[in-house]
C-alpha cells in the first residue's frame, strides 16, 4: 500500500519486530485483561450475584448523606463524591484537596461503603490511593481492571509501564502499515497449506489489517490515560501555570463563579437526582459535590452519553438551593473542541457509549488484537526457530503466557466464587492467579512438546470455565437464572452460558491441535513480498 524504499522497509520491519517481541508478552497481558475488562461491570454483577433492580440514585439518598455528614469530621466537608458500588449500594467519599509529601495534589478523607438499604458496611480513612482498593464483593473485577491499568505495579511505575506498552502498540500499528505493501489485496487471504511462517504471517496480517483503526485508537487512548496524570498534567502545568497543578485542574474542570464561603446546608440531593433523571432519562453514574456546606456549593451529576452521542453528560446544580444551572461539558467550562476531544477519550477506549452492543463489539476487537499480538510473536519465533534451537524456550514462554494467562484469570474467578462467601476474596483472587500461573510455568518446563503444552493449558482453561457456573450457583450461593432474569440481570445467565460454551470450544479445540511441521523458514524477503 505504501511503497517505502528497501532500506526504509528493513528499518520498519526491525522496528515492528523488536517492539513486538520485546514488549509483546506484557502487551498481550494488557490487551487480554482489557478485553475482558470491557465487561468488568457485568462480571462483577455475575460473580457477586447482584440482583438489586434500582440504581441507588433512584431512591432517596439525601437523609443518608446528611447522616454521614454528621458523622464526618468537618475538615473533610470540603467535597463529597457519591457513586454506586456493589449491588446498587452507595459509595460516599467525604474529602478535602491537599498536597502529599511530594507536593502532588491528592484527596484525603473518609470513604463510606453502604449497601442498597443504607446500612454502612465499611468505613475507610486515608488518601484516594489508599481507600479505593478492592472489596470482598468486587475483588474479581477489581483484580482484572488493576492488571490492565498498571499490571499491579505500584503507581506511577505501573502506569508508566502500561503507557510505554501503549506506545509500543502504536509503533507496531504504524510500522505494520508501512511495511505491508499489499494491505488490501491480502485482506481476505489466509493460506493454510503453506510453510508455518506464511501461515502465521497471513493470520497476523489479516487480523491486524481488519482491526487496524481500532488498534490505533486503543493504543493512542490507552497511552493517554496512562501518561495523562503521571507526566502530561505536571508538564502542561509547568508550561502554562508555573507548575500549579491545582490551577490547571481549576481551569479545565472548575466551575467559575464568585466565591461565597458563608456556611449554608447543602440543598436537597433527592431533588437534584430526580431532576437529573428527568432531564436525561437515566440515573447518574456519579455525583460530585464541591464546596460542600457553603453558599457557593456546586453539584455535578454525570450520566452516560445521550442516544447517538458518545460524550458523557454533565449537569451542573447550585448546591445550596438544589436548582439546575446548566448542562456543562465534562471537560472545560463551556463546550469546546478540546473539551469534546478529552471527553471522548474514555468512550473510545472503553466502548461503553451504547450499552451491551458497543461493548460486545469492543470485546470482539480486543480479542482480535490479542490474536494479532499472539500471532505476531509466534511469527517471529517460528521464523527463527529452525535456525536457532535455543529459541525453543521462547516458543514455550510464548505458549505459557498466551494460554497461561486466560488459565490464571479463570482460576482467579473460580477462587473468587469459592472465597467470597467466606469474606477472603481480596486475598484469594490474586493468590489463585499466582498459583495457576506457577502451574502454567511448571507445565511449560515439563511438557514433552510445545503442542502438548498448548493442549494441556487449553483443556485446563476450558475445564475451569465449564465449572464456573456450577461454583457460582452451588458454592457462592449466587442467584439462579429465574431470579436473575426477574431482577433484570439476564447478563448473569448469559455469562453462565458464555463460560460453558467457551469452555467446550477450548476443550474441543485442544483435541484438534495439530503439530506444526518443521520446515525450513521462508526468507525474510519472500515472506514480506508474498
Amino acid at each position: 500500500m505504501i511503497h517505502l524504499k528497501k532500506e526504509e522497509t528493513k528499518a520498519m520491519v526491525a522496528v515492528h519486530g523488536w517492539s513486538g517481541i520485546l514488549l509483546g508478552l506484557l502487551l498481550y497481558a494488557v490487551v487480554l485483561t482489557g478485553t475482558v475488562a470491557v465487561f468488568a461491570h457485568e462480571i462483577g454483577a455475575w460473580s457477586a450475584g447482584h440482583v438489586a433492580r434500582e440504581s441507588i440514585f433512584e431512591k432517596p439518598i439525601d437523609a443518608t448523606v446528611r447522616r454521614l455528614t454528621a458523622m464526618t469530621p468537618p475538615q473533610y466537608h470540603e467535597a463529597v463524591n457519591l457513586f454506586e458500588i456493589g449491588d446498587h449500594g452507595l459509595g460516599a467519599f467525604f474529602h478535602r484537596h491537599e498536597l502529599d509529601a511530594e507536593g502532588a495534589p491528592t484527596e484525603s478523607g473518609i470513604y463510606y461503603q453502604l449497601d442498597n438499604t443504607g446500612r454502612i458496611n465499611r468505613t475507610v480513612q486515608g488518601t484516594d490511593e489508599e481507600v479505593f482498593g478492592p472489596r470482598n464483593d468486587d475483588a474479581l473485577s477489581s483484580f482484572l481492571v488493576d492488571t490492565h491499568v498498571r499490571l499491579h505495579v505500584p503507581n506511577p511505575w505501573g502506569l508508566l509501564l502500561t503507557g510505554i506498552l501503549g506506545l509500543a502498540m502504536l509503533v507496531a500499528a504504524i510500522s505494520g502499515v508501512l511495511i505491508h505493501r499489499h494491505l488490501f489485496k491480502d485482506i481476505f487471504t489466509l493460506r493454510r497449506r503453506a510453510s508455518p511462517v506464511l501461515v502465521d504471517r497471513d493470520k497476523h496480517s489479516v487480523a491486524g489489517t481488519w482491526s487496524l483503526p481500532f488498534a490505533f485508537i486503543l493504543a493512542f487512548t490507552g497511552s493517554f490515560f496512562s501518561f495523562f496524570g503521571t507526566i502530561g498534567v505536571p508538564v502542561v502545568a509547568m508550561a502554562a501555570f508555573s507548575g500549579d497543578v491545582e490551577a490547571l485542574s481549576e481551569a479545565v474542570f472548575g466551575n467559575p463563579g464568585p466565591a461565597d464561603p458563608r456556611p449554608v446546608a447543602i440543598g436537597n440531593l433527592d431533588r437534584i437526582t430526580a431532576d437529573a433523571i428527568s432531564r436525561t432519562g437515566e440515573a447518574p453514574t456519579f455525583l460530585a459535590i464541591e464546596k460542600f456546606g457553603r453558599a457557593d456549593a456546586t453539584v455535578t451529576s454525570f450520566h452516560n452519553p445521550k442516544a447517538s452521542d458518545i460524550e458523557p453528560v454533565a449537569l451542573l446544580y447550585n448546591g445550596a438551593t438544589a436548582t439546575f444551572v446548566r448542562a456543562k461539558p465534562t471537560v472545560g467550562t463551556t463546550p469546546s473542541a478540546g473539551g469534546t476531544l478529552a471527553g471522548i477519550m474514555g468512550p473510545l477506549h472503553f466502548g461503553n457509549f451504547a450499552g451491551i452492543l458497543s461493548r460486545a463489539i469492543w470485546f470482539g476487537l480486543g480479542f482480535a488484537m490479542c490474536y494479532v499480538t499472539f500471532t505476531g510473536m509466534r511469527l517471529w519465533v517460528v521464523r527463527r526457530k529452525d535456525e536457532a534451537r535455543s529459541l525453543a524456550w521462547l516458543e514455550r514462554t510464548l505458549t505459557v503466557v498466551t494460554f497461561g494467562l486466560p488459565f490464571g484469570l479463570t482460576a482467579s474467578a473460580a477462587a473468587f466464587l469459592v472465597t467470597m462467601p467466606m469474606g477472603s476474596a481480596v486475598f484469594w483472587t490474586p493468590a489463585a492467579f499466582l498459583i495457576a500461573s506457577a502451574g502454567a510455568i511448571l507445565a511449560g518446563v515439563v511438557a514433552p512438546s510445545n503442542d502438548r503444552l498448548t493442549q494441556l493449558l487449553k483443556v485446563a482453561t476450558g475445564a475451569v470455565m465449564i465449572v464456573l457456573p456450577l461454583l457460582r450457583l452451588f458454592v457462592s450461593g449466587g442467584p439462579g437464572w429465574n431470579e436473575a432474569i426477574a431482577a433484570d440481570q439476564p447478563i448473569i445467565a448469559a455469562l453462565d452460558v458464555a463460560f460453558v460454551v467457551a469452555g467446550i470450544w477450548l476443550v474441543r479445540g485442544a483435541r484438534t491441535t495439530e503439530s506444526v511441521p518443521r520446515r525450513r523458514t521462508a526468507t525474510l524477503g519472500a515472506a514480506a513480498e508474498a
Partner: protein
Amino acid sequence: MPLWLPGGAAGIDNLVFPLVFAPLIWAILFFHACLDRSIARVALVAAALFLIHGGLVASRFIGEAPAAEKAQ
C-alpha cells in the same frame, strides 16, 4: 505547546490538545528519527523543537520572576 496554541472556546484547547496528542507527537518524532536518512537532520529537528519550547517555558518563568519580586 500550551504557550502557543490557541485557547479555544473554553480557553483549554491549548492545555488539552498537547495532553491528548502527546502519544501521536511522540510517534511522529520517533518515525522521523527511524526513517530520515540524515541523522544530522534528525538531531537538528529535535534540537530546534527542544530549544524553541524550552525557551518559551523559560521565558515564561523569567517573565514571572520580576513580577513576583515587584509583588514583594
